[in-house]
Amino acid sequence: MQQYLLSGLLFTPLVAAFIALFLPSHASGTFKLVTLITCVIQVVLLLLMLSVYDSTGGLQFVEQHAWITLDLGSWGILKAEYLVGLDGLSLPLVSLTVGVMLITTLSSWTVEKNVKGYFILLLILNTAIIGTFAALDFLLFYLFFEFMLLPMFFLIGIWGGARREYASVKFFLYTLLGSILILVALIALYISVNDPSVPGRLVHSFNLLHMRDPKNFISNAILDPNNPWMIGPLSARYWAFLLLFIGFAIKLPMVPLHTWLPDAHVEAPTPVSVVLAALLLKIGGYGLLRIAYPIFPEAALYFSWLVALLGVISIVYGALTAMASKDLKRLIAYSSVSHMGFVLLGIASLTIEGVTGAVYQMVSHGIISAMLFLLAGVLYDRTHDRVIDNYSGLAAKMPVFFAAVLVAFFASMGLPGFSGFIAEVMVFLGAFKSGSANGLLHESFAIIATLGLVLGAAYYLWALQRMFFGPFHVKGDAAAIALTDLNNREYSMLVPLAIAALIFGIFPQPLISWINPFAQHFSDAVLTLGKSLTPIH
Amino acid sequence: MNTLTFIFYFFMLTAAASATGILLSRNVFKAALMLLVCLLSIAALYVLSFAEFVAITQILVYAGGVLVVIIFGIMLTSKLSGKPLQVGHTNIFAAVLSGILLFALLANFITDDVFAVPQHAVETQGALQTIGTNFMTAYSLPFEIAGILLLAALIGAAAITSFMKSKKV
């Protein structure tokens, strides 16, 4: 029973989508209800799983079935599996997904245009995201990874703002470009890897766990770690790492591959922005931790300075651009770029603290960015205007909203007591320690990254000052009348998020106890394996 | 130079000259007639290359059939339009240049020894009989397919003409 829980979690939305397909499209309330029930079922399933999860037990809820097994004669057997499981990395992210999806569903209550299509796409997206986090087979991962594209494309393109078409196409193209790079690495990998479970035959396996073990590589294959090929100045394994890195960095997003994000965020409807910021961005970091680093540890060590550098650039550039943004959503989007830079820095440090911090940051940013986008949506719902300078003195008019914004902004700028603080502090610790512990990163990376914190405080406080203080003023008089404070539905979405941000800020231990074993194992494995492999470059 | 060689080169020259004539001529009808000359000289060359049956077919089918169809087509179109048979030329320079280059390339390749005729080329004896047998034995499949090809061409041509009836302009 226990082993089917994860599949249950994964496929409940898909089944619900299938059911919704056959419901009459005029009864728009039913679709909301179906989606809500699905999310509640998911929450129940997740709680069941959490109750039995053993934080030191490594991979759990593993389910393995044969999917594609092709006997190709002398070429060997091509084998892809339905292989899913959760560990200290994926469990927090899956939990985040379930939670955020529930809130997204509530936030989607106001959707009026083509309700059926919207909720079906949302359900499909739900499955795709959980699948990406749960898959342990590269082909399965890739399937879910690409499967997110289309629902997202339509969700932005149909229900988005004025320039939605441009934004959705840009989003699609960037992500597809990334996934094509991943595909090249995928082809190279599975051709080079042999599944040892079938003796006597060559089995080209997509199993991510097999790919981590240098023993499983076919000798003299292009990605064979013991005898790597040179392509130009670098070995093929280094190129493969770079392909994966760029592919996932687009998703993360990392400067300079981030330009799709502000457009997509600004044009997407509020719930979709929430999903995009809180969940989709995490897939980039997740892919690095799950695929790129463990499979190519020596390349990861070699390029750690590059990853860290790009991380720091993202932190600072994101913060500076956020400061210059005139649009509230654009500001939040760039702050996401800045915050995801910490994830890169944490991963690059390859210390237990750094990696734990990176995963913690992904969860924390998931919660906080969801809150930020919901708040931006609250304002936009009332005035249809997101330009910061068009508001002034909102604090008096909407006190509860102001309080919520205050919480969200403080959490996002990494004030102590909020989850962002814990995550960012751990990343700093990791980045500082890296120099002495494993000699990968110079301390200056950590020092420059603190600049991100300062700038973060600056742009948030400046935005607060401009929007909420001073004499009340809103551009356009008719809009001013519509400015009411939060309603109950909005409470129900924002309060849990705020509480979560606080809990994870004050009691980090439960979450860390999940992540820590993973981080320990991860950094150990990457460091030892990476150093043992011949560093040809 | 004996008579046979003279005849041979005479027909070669005629063929080449008439082909050039087609290229230069602006009159479709004259060009068609020049093609006829060309085809007949080629037929003569076939005879000199011990391919009598091909030569006969060339004269009967090609010169007698294809060309008549083409001339018929010319007459029909010129009658319908009432315009003179003059033809314009486009991109002469590019075409002639690429033609010359291609010829130079081909000629260069042909100079190769591989294409030199062996010292004692045997004349094919009883070629006519062998061709006949071939059609019934080794080449029976192509022979049948040629039949189907003719049939398909016939259906095609018939279909096209019936479009014309169905849609009068």
């Binding site: - | 290359s49 391919a51 003409t161």
Partner: protein, 102 residues
């Protein structure tokens, strides 16, 4: 003594190139057809000439005969198409036929 085989090949190459040039130069579909016939004859001449290199079988001559048959079919279908276009456009000049634009 027979003239060299290569001279026939030169002639064939000349006919082929002339045919190709005719197809490129002429703005009249029937003229283009004439060019195509020239090209086909060049191949035939080659086949017959090469057959002298391999007198044991008559493959070349057989091929040439089939080419003549195919040429007949091609001419028939081609002229039917030309006449049909002619009915629509009252012209056989390709440049004046421009319903389809790339």
């Amino acid at each position: 003594m027979m003239p060299s085989l290569q001279h026939l090949l030169y002639l064939a190459a000349f006919l082929f190139c002339t045919g190709l040039a005719v197809v490129m130069v002429k703005r009249n579909t029937i003229m283009m057809l004439l060019g195509i016939e020239l090209m086909l004859n060049a191949s035939n001449l080659n086949l017959v000439a090469f057959n002298r290199l391999y007198p044991a079988s008559l493959d070349g001559q057989m091929f040439a005969l089939f080419v003549i048959i195919v040429a007949v079919c091609e001419a028939a279908v081609g002229l039917a198409i030309v006449l049909r276009v002619y009915q629509h456009y009252q012209t056989s000049v390709p440049d004046e036929i421009s319903e389809l634009k790339g």
